[in-house]
Symmetry: C2
């Protein structure tokens, strides 16, 4: 019996979520190939799922056909060194809205009671779909927009990292023996993390704040 | 300049929505290949889009890989003659949640201000994601979960048919000269509408209530 679904990008936060979910019972990992330039994260997601012996469902969605993000459109530059004011160009229109929608569908079809999503509104890029207001709005969607919410208990949307600092997330991952060395956070294609994009900078600050070395860099 | 996006299934209701949207200016038609058994509706959606000289965006989403509906799983029978109590087996988990999510993403990426979706909570199959409560919940998602909602005006989710009877929808379509003869409502594969499923029965009652013949049947 699968006890939860984890939206797994292959990055640090979602892998710590996977570690938290796996403590509760068998988890299904759900990843999205949405045309991201840093598709290396999907290989890392698969590796993390294997680490937890979890079923891994990969959903393809061609967001490139409608565009609008530096993460999916090579003609838009990924900003480095925190150059953006406001919501940065790496914002992907409706990304977590779409991810949670599909997650609700999979949970309902498979009778899975909970979704874990590693959104964080503390050390983050300022995306609106990572904030508690958004999650609360989506919980209401699960309550009134799905058969299982109307007839019984809605899918439980869990965001254990939402109010943690990146350093706290790193420490939680270490405590849970999450395979952080397998994870990929960089918004760019690689082969190695660029070190300058928001994702790299937040990650580095998190490990520094926790007083730890990043096993993904040490291992490389 | 595209003024709106229409979630277009190729059925009666979404085609009447298309007619309403097209009066306001150029509309983008958005359809989903989600593994529906009645994929003939996608050809009809393309024909309706052509009729309105509208760009037609077809998004593929393999909901069969997670299952859970008579509309996508040939091993689950499509109920006929109103046999079901409650929400029927043709309910597709999170279908309109996913459709609206993608619609919000496309609108934001393309700077389109409004989405039309032909949900109806009067003469309908009882799906929870066709009701005003659900639409209101999703409007909140657009307000707090998207960059454009946070920084300015959210995408406007329009449901002009939500409180109309099927007969009123038929009459509106006739008044707007919508190409109702091109549309497909049946939940089954065809080649002709089965006449017994919920969608066929609601449609037939709508044309009967409006005192009109169904051009899709007359034409056949």
């Amino acid at each position: 019996m699968t006890s939860s679904l984890v939206v797994l990008s292959g990055g640090l936060d979602s892998t710590v979520c996977m570690a938290m979910a796996a403590r509760q019972g068998p988890a299904l990992a759900l990843s999205f190939d949405y045309g991201q330039r840093h598709s290396v994260e999907l290989d890392r997601a698969a590796a993390v799922a294997r680490h937890y012996r979890a079923e891994h469902l990969l959903v393809h969605l061609d967001t490139r056909s409608w565009g609008g993000s530096a993460l999916t459109d090579a003609s838009i530059e990924v900003p480095v060194n925190g150059g953006d004011d406001g919501i940065p160009a790496t914002y992907v229109p409706a990304r977590n809205i779409i991810f949670l929608s599909v997650a609700l569908g999979v949970c309902e079809a498979r009778s899975i009671d909970a979704v874990y999503i590693g959104v964080n509104a503390i050390d983050y890029s300022g995306y609106p779909d990572c904030r508690p207001e958004f999650i609360d709005a989506f919980r209401r969607v699960a309550e009134v927009g799905q058969k299982r919410g109307v007839e019984g208990e809605p899918v439980d949307i869990r965001t254990p990292l939402i109010a943690m600092t990146k350093a706290e997330i790193v420490r939680a991952g270490i405590d849970l023996e999450a395979p952080l060395g397998l994870t990929w956070s960089c918004y760019r294609e690689g082969p190695a993390p660029c070190g300058g994009c928001d994702a790299c900078r937040l990650r580095a600050a998190g490990f520094a704040g926790a007083g730890l070395e990043d096993p993904a860099l040490v291992g490389g």
